[in-house]
Symmetry: C2
Amino acid sequence: MAAELVTTAALSAARSTDPARPQRADARRNVVALVEAAKTVFARSGVDAPAKEITDRAGVGVGTLYRHFPRRSDLIVAVMQHEIDECIEAAEEFANTLRPWEALTTWIERFMDFVGTKRGLALALHSGDPAYDDLPQHLLDRLAPVLQTLLTRAVDGKLARADITAREVLTAIALICQPVPGEQPIFNQRMARVFMDGLTLPKRSRAEVDIRIGNLASDVERS
Amino acid sequence: MAAELVTTAALSAARSTDPARPQRADARRNVVALVEAAKTVFARSGVDAPAKEITDRAGVGVGTLYRHFPRRSDLIVAVMQHEIDECIEAAEEFANTLRPWEALTTWIERFMDFVGTKRGLALALHSGDPAYDDLPQHLLDRLAPVLQTLLTRAVDGKLARADITAREVLTAIALICQPVPGEQPIFNQRMARVFMDGLTLPKRSRAEVDIRIGNLASDVERS
DNA sequence: AACTATACGGAATAGCTTTCCGGTTAGTAC
DNA sequence: GTACTAACCGGAAAGCTATTCCGTATAGTT
């Protein structure tokens, strides 16, 4: 079922040559085996698991891995193609069934599930390791447009501030969703919600409150 | 000038034995040289620069590095001791001169300067690499108390929500401050401010706005 | 059945961290 | 000053992993 998907991904990653004569059958088999193996290994050991762990499980040599997926990010993209598509579909669904702000926050929760589940993905996104260089780019290119739709709707409804782009929101959420040793994923979710709260229109309440308790504050200062 | 500081740091990191007879003079020299070298190298190549780069610059063998600083985090802590102290002093100063909310946000900006300047520090904090394991712990232990003071003042003044701890704020800010390829530090600062906005009291304005433009929202939905 | 472009496997290379130990030296005792 | 020893040093060695390279094998074609 994931076969066509996988092949497509691998093709775009591995084959930039003459599409007239398609990939050999054994090559196609190996690509599928590698992606399947990588999916399992990534889930257990994170996206920077040793290459050999993947090739052993796929029953191929390391050369085969590097031929089809020159950079680690190519393999990750192939593995996640499916989940990314689902995330995009979810955005359209939410846009059609929920009110603007709820659609926005619900999708963000959905996105967090995706990022948070893949152990180490959020980390890889910002690792600085050249092997992952165009992974963020790819994810942003795919996901920013659909989020932008939700975001624009919220902004038009005066529900969200207008000075932050969809790309920025995605990047920030991805940062916040990085696993923290000693904290459960629920922590990241709570922090992300704080961030989303900050995305609502800058409130008059802020200034109001400041003024209202200005005297109290001064009292505290003096003490 | 930083000599005593460095020595103190190194002692706590490197010597767990009989304090009656102090460290030999050459050992002390080497520790200072290593920390000085590391400070320079960290600034240029990040906190995970090759060990040899540091030992070469310090003019010692790698064995000497690992003897004094078994884990990378020991070296980082030694290098940053001074900056951490400054950060703590700043909190006291802000608490005495600024109103609660301003003290809080100003100190956060100060903290961001610290974290953001050290290339790769924010990254190391959440890398998962065991070599950095107790670095977050150490930073939190040192900084959480002073932030908690500022935060409590803001909460007492009804300026900030009460359901988030100082440790959580520090962790979240550190996450947000991680360098993003292709983005300038100003980006992280903007996102951190959004987060801080979300830290203000959950506002009636949110519900208000929802209700007020509820019809509009529904209109948009139907279209 | 022969032929060739394509693909395979894994040895080889390279770069890094971390350990280990024979040799050196600072500090002390006489 | 000399001798002694515990502390310390340097860098070779061991152990990882990523990535490249090329002689060998084979799928698909004629």
